[in-house]
């Protein structure tokens, strides 16, 4: 856990550092009151301090008999993480094609990809769950709630 905390702490510190860098360009204060930069500067600064504490705090731990260095990342199963990565890639592609293919079609394609390729459900179950879900959300959001969704060449 120590290594993970160190990496996470440093990453958070870097992110807060970037926020602080950007916040430096905001107006810090006016004559009698804090300006738009006041809160971001202080929040980022406290964030850096706490993130560094996360990074170094476990180093003060007394090492236990076994596995104190066992990190969740050591335990991460590559095949299972691939499933998550594939799902995120599918979501990203869905996002990219949603405007010209239509949101309904894009979500349907994503769900088919998710159920058939990522989850490896049987063909009937995967297609059934995907079409059933899209039909349900189409009826609720598009038909019932009149939400205007980007439509594609198929008209939805």
């Amino acid at each position: 856990m120590k290594r993970t905390n160190l990496i996470a702490g440093l990453l958070f510190a870097a992110a807060f550092g970037a926020c602080l860098w950007d916040a430096a360009s905001f107006q810090y204060g006016t004559e009698f009151a804090p300006g738009p930069g006041f809160a971001p500067v202080w929040l980022s600064a406290i964030g850096i301090a706490l993130s560094l504490l996360i990074a170094i705090y476990p180093a003060t731990d007394a090492p236990d008999s076994q596995g104190s260095n066992a990190t969740p990342s050591n335990a991460i199963d590559n095949r299972r993480i691939l499933r998550v990565a594939a799902t995120l890639a599918g979501l990203l592609v869905m996002l990219l094609v949603a405007d010209w293919l239509g949101l309904v079609s894009a979500v349907l394609l994503f769900l088919l990809f998710l159920t058939l390729f990522v989850q490896r459900l049987s063909l009937a179950v995967g297609i059934g769950a995907s079409i059933g879900t899209v039909l349900f959300v189409y009826l609720v959001f598009v038909r019932l709630l009149d939400v205007p969704v980007p439509s594609g060449p198929l008209g939805f």
């Binding site: 993970t4 996470a8 958070f12 992110a15 807060f16 926020c19 950007d22 905001f26 107006q27 009698f32 009151a33 804090p34 300006g35 738009p36 006041f38 809160a39 971001p40 929040l43 980022s44 964030g47 706490l50 993130s51 504490l53 996360i54 705090y57 731990d61 007394a62 969740p72 299972r80 993480i81 499933r83 998550v84 995120l88 979501l91 869905m94 996002l95 949603a98 405007d99 949101l103 979500v107 769900l111 998710l114 159920t115 989850q119 459900l121 179950v125 769950a129 995907s130 879900t133 899209v134 349900f136 959300v137 609720v140 959001f141 709630l145 009149d146 939400v147 205007p148 969704v149 980007p150």
Partner: protein, 500 residues
């Protein structure tokens, strides 16, 4: 005056539309609570867009129904498969599952339903009594007091969400920073927008909440699939025996009081309430050694407490406009989406929302009891739906729901990014609730801070010179310091033991 308001509330809550949506809310809440991995926060966030187009009071009645319905729903999995449906039901697994193994699953679920009903109804009375005077007091609060209250909410939530307090604090800071995205409300300067027009109005809380609570959780379930293997439990005998009543009456009463008051504290919530109720029951019991082996009061106490806590959590939300948990933060966001600003003035400007909600909760608790006693086996059958099939269904609803907030594909992208973040946070033990709460509170907190400093011409002493804000800030400081001190003491003790 109070009675007139309650009558007004009942006249609103008893309208056919509100009755229908209260029923839908508690029904869906029970199903959501019964599904491990989908907690009330995710349930409320995912289903919020489905309330668009409703009257605000109808929407909040349905969302509150989902919230307290989920508290009961979590019991079903705790008792039948030793897996809590949500964190507030963790303590119920200890004795609930043991009762199921003894063939008394029906009695455990029945007592949980009755305990939840009694606690739910009694805590609505307490809500009715506590919220209006608190709102009257809050009318006298200025920006420094509000700032202090919000700091207290964030610090207690960050330190009590479990795991590392430092991680909770970092998440709260990240949420506050995300809350500064967009055009500054006072000067009009854009902050962290990177030239993207979609960010000028700031980040919507719903895509962030759906991403962290729902998509992140679904991704985690793809990574570590939930295996549900219901035991072959008998669900007969749902009505408690006379002995069960005798054993549980005190537990329900104590659980209700503990649950309501813990629920009222910003950041504490139903999980801690159920834990404390269980611990108290064990302490006052004549047979503490039997706890964990299947005693009915071990189910009655935490179940009463978590239902009472979900009502108690509505007190700061409604009276002060300050949510104390992830779920109430989502509900605050819902109210603002409907153009309502919860807080002391809402009780006078929109009494129909508060009193309609109060009255609907009386009715909702009756509905839950009627639903849960005869239909416990039906809800248990939700567990027979293979979890992999639920993943695409919830994902599809979440994606469309997020899109429909502002009819924006950009929001879907935000939800996906926060979904990925939520997954990583889940794996490495970073709690999402402080981030969502801070995102919702962030703009209000910054406004209160800047107004306070404007009042004092830039001097931060204003927060300690005003007695109410000073007292609240002392509590906030204690919320941070007490866990640190106890952690240091534990480390010293461990080190001493290792050296011995």
């Amino acid at each position: 005056m109070g009675f007139d308001n309650l009558l007004l509330g009942f006249s609103i809550a008893l309208s056919p539309t509100n009755l229908l949506f209260a029923f839908i809310g508690v029904f869906l809440g029970t199903v959501i609570g019964a599904l491990p991995g989908i907690g009330p926060s995710a349930g409320v966030a995912v289903l919020l867009p489905a309330t668009f187009g409703m009257q605000p009071v109808t929407a909040i009645i349905m969302l509150a129904g989902i919230y307290y319905g989920a508290m009961y729903g979590g019991t079903i999995t705790s008792v039948l498969i030793n897996t809590p449906g949500e964190s507030a039901s963790v303590m119920t697994t200890l004795d609930g599952f043991q009762l199921a193994l003894k063939g008394r699953a029906g009695a455990a679920l029945g007592m949980a339903a009755i305990g939840s009903f009694i606690a739910g109804t009694a805590s609505v009375v307490l809500l009715m009594v506590a919220a209006p005077p608190l709102a009257d007091l809050a009318v006298t609060f200025g920006p420094p007091e509000y700032f202090a209250l919000m700091v207290l909410g964030l610090t207690t939530l960050a330190s009590l969400t479990g795991g590392s307090m430092l991680k909770g604090m970092v998440m709260a800071l990240a949420g506050l920073l995300l809350g500064t995205v967009g055009i500054d409300p006072m000067i009009g300067e854009p902050r962290y927008t990177f030239g993207n027009v979609n960010l000028l109005d700031g980040l919507d809380f719903l895509p962030v909440a759906v991403g962290l609570f729902a998509i992140g959780e679904l991704l985690f379930n793809l990574y570590e699939p939930v295996r549900l293997e219901p035991i072959n439990a008998r669900l007969s005998g749902l009505l408690p025996t006379r002995q069960d009543w005798r054993d549980s009456a005190g537990a329900i009463a104590r659980g209700t009081v503990i649950g309501f008051f813990i629920g009222m504290l910003p950041g504490a919530g139903a999980t801690i309430a159920s834990f404390l109720a269980y611990a108290t029951e064990k302490r006052v019991s004549k047979r503490p050694e039997a706890f964990g082996t299947g005693v009915i009061e071990g189910v009655a106490a935490p179940e009463s407490a978590n239902n009472a806590a979900s009502t108690g959590a509505l007190v700061p939300l409604m009276a002060l406009g300050i949510p104390g948990s992830g779920t109430t933060a989502v509900m605050l966001g819902a109210l603002t989406l409907y153009g309502l600003q919860p807080g002391p003035l809402m009780l006078t400007t929109h009494p129909e929302v508060f009193w309609g909600l109060v009255a609907s909760m009386y009715i909702g608790n009756v509905m839950l009891l009627i639903l849960n006693l005869p239909l416990a086996p039906v809800f248990a059958s939700v567990l027979r739906v293979p979890y992999p099939i639920l993943i695409p269904i919830i994902m599809g609803i979440a994606l469309f729901g997020v899109y429909s907030v502002e009819n924006s594909v950009f929001n879907v992208g935000v939800a996906i990014i926060f979904g990925a973040l939520g997954f990583v946070m889940r794996i490495y033990g970073y709690p999402p609730a402080p981030l969502v709460l801070a995102l919702v509170l962030g703009p209000m907190l910054e406004k209160a801070l800047r107004q306070s400093l404007q009042m004092s011409l830039g001097s931060p002493t204003i927060f300690v010179m005003r007695p109410v804000s000073a007292i609240i800030l002392v509590f906030a400081l204690l919320a941070v310091l007490l866990p640190v001190i106890s952690d240091i003491r534990m480390r010293h003790r461990r080190r001493a033991l290792a050296n011995a």
